[in-house]
């Protein structure tokens, strides 16, 4: 079976309804014994005497989707997973809202947890996505991943 790049981008914050629905969608796949979920949340960091109120995400979308596809294939190759889902926000996401949702499912917990961790690391390091922190005093600051 050949897979094709899927859209991973979501306009604005990822809602808790979307996350709940995604979990619910797996209830019919009864060979799954473990899900691992990572949720990235926008943090109200202090910056230059002000505080982050939101992050505005932009991406080189064509390249990001191709890269996400390559990462996805590599993770499927390495770990014995039943399924894998990646959602990343574009546009403005306020502090306290979810901007990244990574979901892996497997028969047993170890595969799901390890795959989820590697996936999150690779997404942060390899996807051409940028976050601009919007501060309460109207200043802006390009986010740096640590």
């Amino acid at each position: 079976m050949t897979r094709k790049p899927k859209n991973i981008f979501v306009d604005g914050a990822i809602s808790s309804e979307k996350i709940a629905k995604s979990i619910q969608n797996h209830s019919s796949k009864t060979n799954i014994g473990a899900h691992s979920i990572f949720l990235g949340q926008v943090r109200a960091d202090e910056k230059d005497g002000s505080v982050v109120r939101a992050i505005e995400y932009t991406a080189y979308e064509e390249m990001a989707l191709q890269k996400a596809f390559e990462i996805r294939e590599a993770i499927f190759e390495k770990y014995n997973l039943t399924c894998m889902h990646i959602y990343h926000s574009l546009g403005e996401v306020k502090t306290g809202e979810i901007c990244l949702f990574v979901f892996t499912s497997s028969k047993h917990r170890k595969m799901a947890i390890d795959a989820c961790e590697e996936l999150v690391e690779r997404i942060k390091n390899e996807l051409p996505v940028w976050g601009k922190e919007l501060l309460k005093n109207s200043d802006e600051n390009w986010k740096v991943n640590t």
Binding site: G40, Y57, T58, A59, Y60, E62, M63, Q66, H88, C99, L100, V120, I123, K124, N125, E126, L127, P128, V129, W130, G131, K132, W142, K143, V144, N145
Partner: protein, 78 residues
């Protein structure tokens, strides 16, 4: 049509007059970078990588002349 398409992202896009523009054909990425630095000296101060047709490059790469070039500052998704 001959000519490169240059796309800028993140903070690089804010330093250039346009996010996407046409640029004359160059023989390789080194020649392209030198021309871009001449045209937009602000770029010299910035940290970025190049992608040619959506592939990140690590070294000087020859160009046919109609590629899509992207100027990519350090990624900060998630």
């Amino acid at each position: 049509m001959e000519g490169l398409t240059v796309k800028a992202f993140g903070m690089i896009a804010e330093k250039l007059p346009e996010q996407e523009f046409e640029f004359p054909k160059k023989k390789d990425t080194e020649e392209l970078l030198n021309s871009l630095y001449n045209e937009y000296p602000d770029l010299k101060e910035l940290d970025f990588s190049l992608a040619v047709n959506q592939q990140l490059i690590q070294q000087n790469t020859s160009l046919e002349g109609n590629e899509e070039i992207a100027l990519l500052p350090p990624f900060s998704g998630g």
